[in-house]
């Protein structure tokens, strides 16, 4: 950005007259430029695909299309009832579906909403994976859930401890549980930490 404000570098690009996609000229082979152009074309396509947008301008992030939120919520509820019936792999599929729907939200919608939906869905899917002893998959899911929301997410911290414990990684489980307890006391977290500590002291 050290360049002056009133000059710019002309980049070797052109518009495909039929598809209206912007593409790099064949002579250019700059991967970064290609990536930026792909992002631009994707954004343009997304803007066009939303019927509420008539002027090509993304609406301010104060309102969201209610349809998608309702769909995601319904998918999550269906997943929850499958989980209650112990149809764990069905629940995994339903949660996966809901995650995909959340991830394909238009990017200009409030990101706090996306974060909220995803941390919950990943924690739920982890629990379904735990139901069928899929510890590695469950661990990857809770890691994401915790990265998205550390505070006020004790279930995810507990499930992380559980996965690591079941895979015999007691030291890591101890660390995960202690980390979870940093964000507020939780009896179930403390209980599992006690169990893990007992196993560790027996080993020595």
């Amino acid at each position: 950005m050290a360049q002056s404000t009133d000059v710019f570098v002309v980049v070797p690009i052109e518009m495909d007259p039929t598809t209206k996609a912007i593409q790099a000229l064949p002579s250019s082979n700059d991967p970064l430029l290609a990536r930026e152009l792909e992002a631009l074309n994707n954004l343009h396509r997304t803007l066009k695909s939303v019927p509420e947008i008539t002027n090509g301008i993304p609406p301010p992030p104060t309102s969201v299309g209610p349809k998608r939120s309702a769909l995601i919520e319904r998918m999550r509820q269906t997943g929850n009832s499958a989980f209650k019936k112990k149809n764990y792999s069905e629940a995994v599929d339903l949660y996966t579906h809901a995650i995909t729907m959340a991830l394909t939200r238009p990017p200009w919608e409030p990101s706090a909403l996306l974060r909220d939906e995803l941390h919950q869905l990943y924690a739920n899917r982890a629990q379904a994976h735990i139901g069928i002893n899929n510890w590695p998959e469950a661990l990857a899911d809770v890691n994401a859930s915790i990265d998205l929301k550390r505070v006020g997410n004790p279930k995810a911290h507990w499930r992380k401890g559980k996965c690591l414990k079941e895979m015999g990684r007691h030291e890591e489980a101890k660390e995960a549980l202690e980390f979870g307890l940093e964000f507020g006391n939780d009896t179930e977290l403390a209980h599992m930490l006690k169990e893990v500590n007992e196993t560790l002291s027996k080993r020595q």
Binding site: M1, A2, Q3, S4, T5, F8, V9, V10, V11, I13, E14, M15, P17, K20, I22, L32, L33, E36, L37, A39, L40, L43, H44, L47, K48, N55, G56, I57, P58, P59, P60, P61, I99, L103, R105, P107, W108, E109, P110, S111, L114, R115, L118, Y122, W135, P136, E137, L139, A140, D141, N143, A144, D147, L148, M167, G168
Partner: protein
């Protein structure tokens, strides 16, 4: 003798000051040259260049809808740079204090900071950054009344959403890696159990070894034995 005692200290002082002056000027010149040649913290601003290139393309003219999308991309990159600098500042300062990063990286960073936000010295660069945000706001208002009020908000959400999506993309990868580890661990455990009972079962060891590759030393040995 008297003359000498006056000239000697004078000469001494002149030589000393002269040397210091020469050294100082050389040092400063070298430092300035080095600062000038440092790679900028951020790479080229592609989305700005793309927007302006498209704006000036005549044959055929680029439709407004694409220009608007390109302007959103440009605002997004501006916001990403500002956010990156804000987040990097605290941790970089800490690292510098601990001596974990060299002065070189620090200089590059402060130059970048001045480019986009209020810094201390580089007023010219600050002007560039402020001008960039102003330019985007002006272009936005040219497309739709009051768009300038929300374009940076939208850009901010896009930056955040991109980060969240990047994190989400890692989930499948991590799950696959953990799965490989876990399968190997279980195989190793069952092999150890079997190994105690039937050590000469070469076929079993080979087949499980080639999949898991957990104990490469052992497997190659067994394989060799089988081949001969």
């Amino acid at each position: 003798m008297v003359k000498l005692s006056i000239i000697a200290p004078l000469v001494y002082i002149v030589v000393l000051v002269g040397t210091l002056a020469v050294f100082s000027s050389l040092y400063r010149k070298r430092k300035a040259k080095k600062a000038a040649s440092l790679e900028p913290w951020f790479g080229p601003h592609y989305s700005r260049d793309i927007y302006l290139t498209l704006l000036h393309q005549e044959n055929p003219k680029v439709p407004d809808s694409i220009l608007k999308a390109a302007l959103v991309r440009r605002a997004t990159e501006d916001i990403r740079r500002i956010v990156t600098i804000r987040q990097a500042k605290g941790s970089l300062q800490q690292l510098l204090q601990r001596g974990s990063i060299g002065d070189d990286l620090w200089t590059r960073f402060t130059v970048a900071e001045a480019e986009i936000e209020e810094g201390e010295a580089r007023e010219k660069l600050i002007a560039v950054a402020q001008q960039e945000l102003k330019d985007v706001a002006m272009e936005a208002n040219g497309f739709g009344s009051e768009w300038a009020a929300s374009i940076f908000q939208s850009a901010h959400e896009i930056v955040q959403a991109t980060k969240i999506r990047e994190r989400a993309a890692e989930v499948a990868e991590q799950a696959a890696a953990e799965r490989v580890w876990w399968n190997e661990k279980r195989e190793r455990a069952s092999r150890e159990l079997l190994g105690e009972n039937s050590d000469e079962d070469g076929v079993l060891v080979e087949s499980s070894g080639s999949r898991g590759a957990a104990r490469p030393g052992t497997t190659t040995q067994r394989k060799g034995k089988n081949a001969t």
